[in-house]
């Protein structure tokens, strides 16, 4: 069995990255011009990496399946980006951000990677400001911050509820600057369908031009996968419709290990499902939990009356409301981490306290915040003895200033005014902490193949804290990969251009073409979405917010069944050599059908509860922590890295033991 070498540098935690950067090899400017790098995906990680590498002098080819690099799904991130700037003087530091992230990840992340992330976080803000990213500012003209779940300091930088958009457009502008210079060649509406491995090294990709259907070969000395997460395996998620696992899965099948695939983040504050036609779920930023209070009625009768439309939330008196997060977790209240908040909502709804037709919704209420801000604003404006109406009006204006776009979005989707009626929310699949296994240099188990951002597994352990995804994407792309890829490429200065006529390219292209032909010639009866929906339901019911051995075993059998039917009975209309969106979906769902099984296998192997992974068999049975997740550090303090063994459902487990030199493992209590 291969031993996983995480290549964590020696030395004290706070010196590792600096020392490593100082000692790894670099490629001289004249030699960089002879080296080609492929970047797949143009979200925060991909756009920042492609731009930075081109600035350094490498020849970059960037690929995205969207019609423009600017549309990658990082664009939809709402709340913010963390950075240990300590502008608020509230005790923040690199160490505290590191500590919060390791703890928030339930002690299943690598200390060294997380420390580096915290270390470069402050540079990200400086970089983005310099690019013209219009962050929120206070009246003194300085950058504003807000707080986010799972932490007790204010370190989140934001641009209203559109932080991901502003950061991505910043990275995109840097990328387009290089495209204009000709140092990046941009391939939009192109989908990577395989990675090509030559003599054990990643040397290129096979891509499909989504407009013409042409299958293209692209050679390079290194391939960077910045292709995001795989939450769409659940069919319904907050991901974009096109978000998929295909690039990462192809890499897995070519030898890259898949790490902790079962770690899925179920986000607590999403708009509940409204019907069977639903194609995706919409997130309401976690920042709303700064001011919104989450509750359900204390009595089952009230909950039932609300579900039947006989009562409204506003009819329930203050003393008859159960602010269950504040009750269970007094220290963090509504700002507990996402996994904790999601499970608590499920617990209340399963017990019969849900507040919409389906019984799967809880209230997120801004009534108290409107009052508080209204009174504060009246003081600021020197209004003596303000009337209740004035307070409400002033408070509503403040809430609107902070969260206006989110409230508008809610009203559009639900058709109800959230300033007047408490929002209804429910957890939904949002982010995947698992991903391709990478070492400290972000290199996968295939030399020359790197994974950045959500596509890798490295920084968030079993649960990601809010506002840390943007931080990781940009850290990897701007500040990590430009150094570490150079160390790898130093061996390639004399390699010369990669020959794309080699047998490895022939073989990869043939496999891609055959699969496309199969889909188009398959005389099935059901559309792709049919199978995707069925897969999603199995995953949500049995590998979602709570998992147990029996359910996971059933899920594995059911997924195999769906997969078999899919290959026999899927119908894909149209032709290969044209714009064919059903064909695109078919390829992605085929890969989800294999990934889903591996997620269940991984979840079954991990008989402990940690972060987003909650095994019903592993919970505290009594004492003050009763019902809380129970981690098992003796048996499961490892990264589960799975090796593809030639067919779906067959995978070998490799364990990377996690050692904690600095942080002491304790039960993650938010009480």
């Amino acid at each position: 069995m291969t031993k996983l070498d995480s290549k964590i540098p020696e030395g004290p935690l706070e010196r590792k990255w600096t020392d490593h950067k100082g000692h790894i090899r670099i490629v001289a400017p004249a030699n960089k011009r002879r080296i080609d790098v492929i970047v797949v995906g143009t979200g925060l990680a991909g756009a920042s990496a492609a731009a930075s590498l081109a600035e350094l002098g490498y020849n970059v080819k960037a690929f995205c399946f969207q019609d423009s690099a600017r549309r990658a799904h990082s664009i939809a991130a709402q709340g913010g980006i963390n950075a240990a700037k300590n502008y608020q003087n509230d005790g923040d530091s690199t160490f505290r951000l590191f500590y919060d992230t390791v703890k928030g990840g339930d002690y299943r992340a690598r200390e060294a990677n997380v420390y580096r992330l915290a270390e470069v976080s402050a540079n990200i803000i400086d970089q983005c400001v310099a690019q013209g990213v219009p962050f929120a500012r206070d009246y003194g003209g300085l950058l504003d911050n807000r707080s986010f779940g799972g932490v007790q300091v204010s370190r989140t930088f934001y641009a209203r509820g559109q932080t991901g958009q502003q950061l991505l457009l910043g990275a995109y502008s840097a990328l387009m600057r290089q495209v204009g210079k000709g140092t990046v060649k941009m391939y939009d509406r192109h989908e990577m369908l395989d990675v090509v491995v030559v003599d054990g090294k990643a040397r290129g990709i096979i891509a499909r031009n989504l407009i013409t259907g042409e299958i293209e070969r692209h050679g390079a000395h290194a391939v960077l996968l910045c292709t995001g997460g795989y939450g769409n395996v659940f069919f319904l998620s907050t991901n974009a419709m096109g978000s998929n696992v295909t690039a990462a899965w192809k890499a897995h099948k070519r030898g890259a290990y898949m790490a902790n695939p079962c770690y899925t983040q179920i986000h607590p504050t999403c708009i509940p499902v409204s019907g069977t036609h639903q194609s995706k779920l919409t997130l309401m930023s976690e920042s709303l939990r700064n001011d919104g209070r989450i509750w359900v009625p204390k009595s089952l009768e009230d909950a039932q009356a609300i579900r039947e439309g006989k009562k409204k939330g506003s009819d329930i008196k203050e003393e008859d409301r159960d602010y269950y997060l504040e009750r269970r977790y007094p220290a963090f209240g509504n700002l507990v981490p996402r996994d904790v908040a999601s499970r608590a909502a499920k617990e209340r709804c399963d017990a019969g306290y849900g507040v919409n037709k389906t019984g799967e919704a809880v209230y997120l209420d801004f009534g108290a915040a409107i009052q508080r801000y209204g009174k504060l604003q009246a003081n600021i404006l020197h209004i003596e003895n303000p009337t209740p109406e004035q307070i409400k009006e002033l408070g509503t204006a403040v809430v609107s200033e902070k969260y206006g776009n989110l409230f508008d979005m809610y009203e559009n989707i639900v058709g109800e005014n959230p300033y007047l009626h408490a929002m209804k929310i429910y957890p939904a699949v949002h982010y995947t902490m698992g991903g391709l296994w990478v070492d400290y240099n972000l290199q996968t188990t295939v030399p020359g193949l790197f994974a950045l951002g959500e596509a890798n597994f490295s920084d968030h352990g079993a649960n990601r804290l809010g506002a840390s995804a943007l931080m990781q994407g940009l850290a990897d792309g701007y500040f990590v990969i430009p150094y570490t890829v150079g160390d790898y490429l130093a061996d390639d200065i004399r390699t010369g251009p990669i020959d794309t006529k080699s047998a490895a390219f022939d073989e990869a292209e043939k496999a891609v073409t055959e699969r496309i032909d199969h889909f188009l010639n398959n005389k099935g009866t059901k559309p792709v979405d049919d199978f995707h929906r069925r897969l999603g339901k199995v995953m949500w019911d049995k590998c979602g917010m709570a998992r147990n051995a029996q359910g996971l075993q059933e899920a594995i059998a059911e997924i195999r069944q769906i997969r078999e039917e899919f290959w026999k009975d899927v119908r894909v209309p149209g032709k290969a050599n044209e714009f064919n969106q059903e064909l695109e979906k078919a390829g992605r769902v085929a890969d989800f059908l294999e990934l889903g099984e591996l997620m269940c296998i991984d979840a079954l192997d991990r008989n402990e509860s940690c972060g987003g992974h909650f095994r019903e068999e592993s919970q505290e049975l009594d004492g003050p922590q009763k019902g809380e997740a129970k981690r098992d550090d003796v048996n499961y303090a490892y990264v589960a890295a799975w090796e593809w063994l030639g067919e779906a459902g067959k995978a070998a487990l490799h364990k990377e033991e996690l050692t904690f030199d600095v942080v002491k493992l304790t039960q993650r209590s938010y009480k």
């Binding site: 423009s68 840097a174 600057r177 058709g415």
Partner: protein, 252 residues
């Protein structure tokens, strides 16, 4: 499932050079909670089952921020309703029995790829011409708080920067002008100290590229502002015009 019955008249075109036409499709069981795109999903599902080709249309995030979706519905970019994209348009805006016309963005600079999907690559090329601050990645930049920016300027720059690049402004304009799109980017950077050093070069280069792409002139009808899903203000066009004039006069 819901109980609305609708008649859709949808533009079908099998490629950039093919001749297109409006085809009629009845759809039943439409629920008012569906988004417009979910309603098209239902139609496409049905078409695939019947062995017909589904309707091609661009979409991705389905929450109004990626800018992919781009339908001209009953003569309006992104359909009825203000400050929303097509994916945020819900069927409760329509009535049982309605006939709905669905067409692609129409502009010389946005050629049709297939059915309702168009090529908006021109926007990327305009961005590449100058829509950036020329700053390389560096871990040693000045501190983010070293230069205070008045809140009003930061907020206005943000308002401009919320443009999602969907192209509704172009599709709406009788001249197919891209002024609102270009002005939003020019204005964002013109308002920030970081964007000032190359402001002149930027506005000239972006406008030059815009003209090269075949977008029309602005005749100040203001339709773009009305249809913009992000409510980008015409003020930004005025600011760009000032920037452009100043840059042209003082060009080195």
């Amino acid at each position: 499932m819901g109980n609305m019955k609708l008649t859709l008249k949808i533009w079908r075109q099998n490629g950039p050079k093919a001749k297109g036409e409006l085809n009629t499709y009845p759809v039943n069981d439409v629920s008012e909670d569906m988004s417009f795109l979910e309603m098209l999903d239902v139609l496409n599902d049905d078409l695939v089952r019947k062995g017909e080709e589904p309707i091609a249309f661009d979409h991705d995030c389905r929450e109004g921020i990626c800018g992919s979706c781009s339908l001209f519905i009953n003569g309006e970019a992104h359909g009825p309703g203000r400050m929303i994209t097509t994916c945020q348009l819900h069927m409760r805006k329509f009535k049982d029995g309605d006939t709905i016309h669905v067409e692609p963005w129409r502009a010389e600079a946005f050629p049709v790829i297939k059915d309702l999907a168009v090529d908006r690559g021109a926007f990327d090329r305009i961005q590449a011409a100058g829509g950036f601050v020329s700053v390389n990645t560096s871990g040693n930049l000045v501190d983010g708080n070293a230069v205070p920016i008045p809140k009003a300027d930061a907020d206005t720059a943000f308002d401009a920067a919320t443009c999602i690049g969907c192209g509704a402004c172009v599709a709406t304009c009788t001249n197919s002008s891209a002024m609102l799109f270009v002005a939003a980017k020019v204005s964002q950077f013109a308002l920030l100290p970081q964007g000032k050093p190359e402001a002149k070069r930027r506005v000239l280069a972006m406008v030059e590229q815009m003209d090269k792409e075949g977008f029309g002139n602005c005749s100040n009808t203001g339709a773009c502002e009305v249809e913009c899903p992000k409510g980008i203000s015409l003020e930004h066009i005025a600011r760009m015009n000032r920037e452009y004039l100043a840059a042209s006069v003082t060009k080195e």
